[in-house]
């Protein structure tokens, strides 16, 4: 379970203080399929970054399965991310010089899986996201949507506790968006994988089972379907 308590992130720009995340208290349970929505500048990215340990909150804390990760030193945090959190970014997620399959294997290599296991799992994951026949291609030879599917597969490779995706569909057309969402929601239903993603897109928001709306860094609505 992910929990934030009185989470604040304040950016100072000269004398101006921007409360990018303003006193957010949030609980996200295992198996959720949750969208964080809100207008541009409302703090979605900042909130996800704090949850994923990429950014340190100004005050308040982030707890993941009882561990207060917001106070981890950066080296420990890198290791924690490797083993517990899967990331999908808006674009350019993959290492350009590695093939789709190698991108996935790399994560498992860093975790210390043996060769056979890496081979097996990367193939399974690529098949799972419908990319089994393009495993040898480099990112530049894939469309944006295909790259994002590989990115999801890579995020899953480390067997993380949850996957954070900041606007994963922002650069995709509607067909690719629909495909990616199909895959994500199937993984969520069948494998019980927790997804937390941010989005502007109403079609994406419609697919979420819980929608948290931010405005000026504050949660203004939190609806479960």
């Amino acid at each position: 379970m992910i929990q934030t308590e009185k989470l604040n992130k304040i950016y100072k720009q000269g004398k101006l203080k921007v409360k990018a995340v303003n006193n957010v208290n949030l609980k996200i349970s295992d198996g959720e399929f949750t969208a964080i929505v809100g207008p541009s500048g409302s703090g979605k990215t900042t909130l996800l970054n704090c949850i994923g340990g990429l950014d340190k909150p100004t005050n308040g804390k982030v707890t993941i399965d009882g561990e207060v990760i917001s106070s981890y030193p950066s080296n420990k945090m890198i290791k924690f991310r490797l083993n517990n959190i899967g990331f999908v970014f808006q674009a350019y997620n993959l290492i350009p010089v590695l093939s789709a399959k190698e991108n996935i294997e790399m994560i498992m290599l860093m975790q210390g899986y043996d060769k056979q296991e890496r081979e097996q799992r990367s193939n399974d994951l690529l098949n799972e996201v419908g990319m089994g026949n393009m495993s040898k291609r480099r990112p530049a030879q894939l469309s944006g949507g295909q790259q994002q599917r590989v990115a999801v597969a890579r995020a899953l490779a480390s067997k993380p506790k949850f996957i954070l995706a900041d606007e994963p569909t922002a650069n995709l057309d509607s067909i690719s968006t629909a495909k990616l969402l199909d895959i994500m929601s199937r993984l969520n239903k069948q494998e019980n994988i927790t997804f937390i993603f941010s989005s502007h897109d109403q079609r994406v928001i419609d697919r979420a089972r819980r929608v948290i709306t931010l405005e000026d860094g504050k949660i203004i609505t939190d609806k479960k379907k």
Partner: protein, 407 residues
């Protein structure tokens, strides 16, 4: 996997990689050839003068070098020889008795240096048998001598011809004698070739009318030993009645010439290295800066900073290594060729070879094929590339994934 990533990153911008590695190999190419030429040149000098004539170290009676007179000659005894032989690095040593004489044959006469030598021991130092061009190197009787090529030509001498030597003997006595040419030697050294006559040291002692004296003790060293160290050690074991000199003291002009030339080469190499450094640094700088976003992603998904740095370090090392390998591969055949077919100094302009002849060695430059040259410069470039990768190291260790991912 890190290796694979680094290797492929090298291929990512092929043009840049090509330009960078070529600049490394071009610089290395010039440096290696220049140094091979220089060291080959020095080796040639040292071989033709030091190793085959003057010796790395000489011992004389104190004051002899100042005033090269027989009155400053020394008595040689076994104790002295044993003491010198006991010093680490001394390989061979031999006595010479040297004196000036007027040589004449028929109408012609000419000044020369008589060198009384211990032929068996001399052979170990100067490789005589390889230099004899006519007759024999040995002295079968006390009136036989070996002439250097120049003297033989001057007097138009054949084996068996008689020459008269005339000069000053020990302690003011007169020295004179008739001698028979038994061999002609090419000392591979224009200066010495013009004026050297060899005879057995016993004959020379007879000629000057004094037993058991010598003017020079010529010492050859073991390879890789420093002659200055050996000279110091010899000084410490023998009495103050002797002076111990290295070839650099005996032939200071030669040493100065080599040093000046060597410094010139080092300055050139340094300039080339500076250019290479900037070239490589520029590439590494670009490689780091343009991939900030990628680094951010890698850090986010859990790659450690050390691994990230290792990738860049490997890329830097690969870039320079490719350049180094190309540079060495290109220079090797050239060095080998000019080692076998030395450049003659006339090709650098008229007169230069005469000037070199004055110094007393063949005006040729056989290139050095010592692996020390390419290897030392390869190691230097390797170290430079590690030094250069300090910049990406600093960038990576201060990298914040969020900031680097904000374009």
């Amino acid at each position: 996997m890190i290796f694979k990533i680094a290797w492929r990153n090298i291929g990512r911008n092929k043009k840049r990689t090509l330009i960078t590695t070529l600049s490394v190999s071009a610089a290395l190419f010039l440096i290696i050839l220049m140094r091979s030429m220089q060291f080959g040149f020095y080796d040639n000098i040292i071989h033709s003068i030091v190793q085959s004539y003057s010796g790395y170290i000489q011992v004389h009676s104190n004051g002899y070098w100042e005033k090269q007179s027989l009155n400053n000659a020394m008595e040689i005894d076994d104790d002295l020889i044993n003491k010198i032989n006991s010093v680490d690095g001394v390989k061979n040593l031999t006595n010479r008795l040297q004196t000036f004489a007027l040589v004449s044959k028929g109408e012609k006469s000419k000044g020369a240096i008589i060198n009384g030598v211990e032929i068996e021991k001399e052979q170990l130092i100067t490789d005589w048998n390889k230099k004899i061009i006519e007759g024999s190197q040995y002295f079968d009787s006390t009136d036989q001598i070996v002439l250097s090529k120049g003297i033989a030509e001057y007097f138009n001498t054949k084996i068996g011809d008689t020459l008269v030597l005339f000069g000053q003997g020990y302690q003011g006595m007169m020295a004179a004698g008739k001698y028979v040419a038994n061999g002609i030697i090419d000392l591979k050294n224009p200066g010495l070739n013009k004026m050297t006559i060899f005879m057995d040291i016993k004959s020379a002692q007879d000629y000057i009318s004094s037993d058991d004296i010598a003017t020079h003790l010529i010492i050859d060293k073991e390879k890789y030993y420093n002659e200055k160290k050996i000279a110091e050690n010899i000084s410490n074991v023998i009495s103050d009645d002797y002076e111990v000199m290295t070839w650099k003291e005996i032939l200071p002009e030669l040493d100065q010439m080599i040093t000046a030339d060597n410094v010139g080469g080092l300055i050139m190499a340094f300039i080339l290295y500076v250019i290479v450094c900037f070239g490589m640094f520029g590439t590494v700088l670009m490689m780091t800066e343009e991939r900030k976003y990628e680094f951010g992603v890698l850090l986010s998904i859990g790659m450690s900073k050390i691994k990230l740095y290792l990738i860049i370090l490997l890329e830097t090392i690969m870039l320079s290594s490719i350049g180094v390998i190309i540079g060495i591969i290109l220079t090797r055949p050239i060095s080998l060729y000019f080692n076998k077919n030395p450049i003659h100094m006339d090709s650098f302009g008229e007169g230069l070879s005469d000037a070199m002849g004055e110094f007393g060695f063949d005006p040729i430059i056989p290139f050095s094929i010592n692996w020390d040259i390419p290897i030392s410069h390869a190691i230097f470039i390797f170290c430079v590339s590690i030094l250069i990768s300090i910049y990406p190291a600093i960038r990576i260790f201060s990298l914040n994934p969020i900031k680097s991912m904000k374009q």
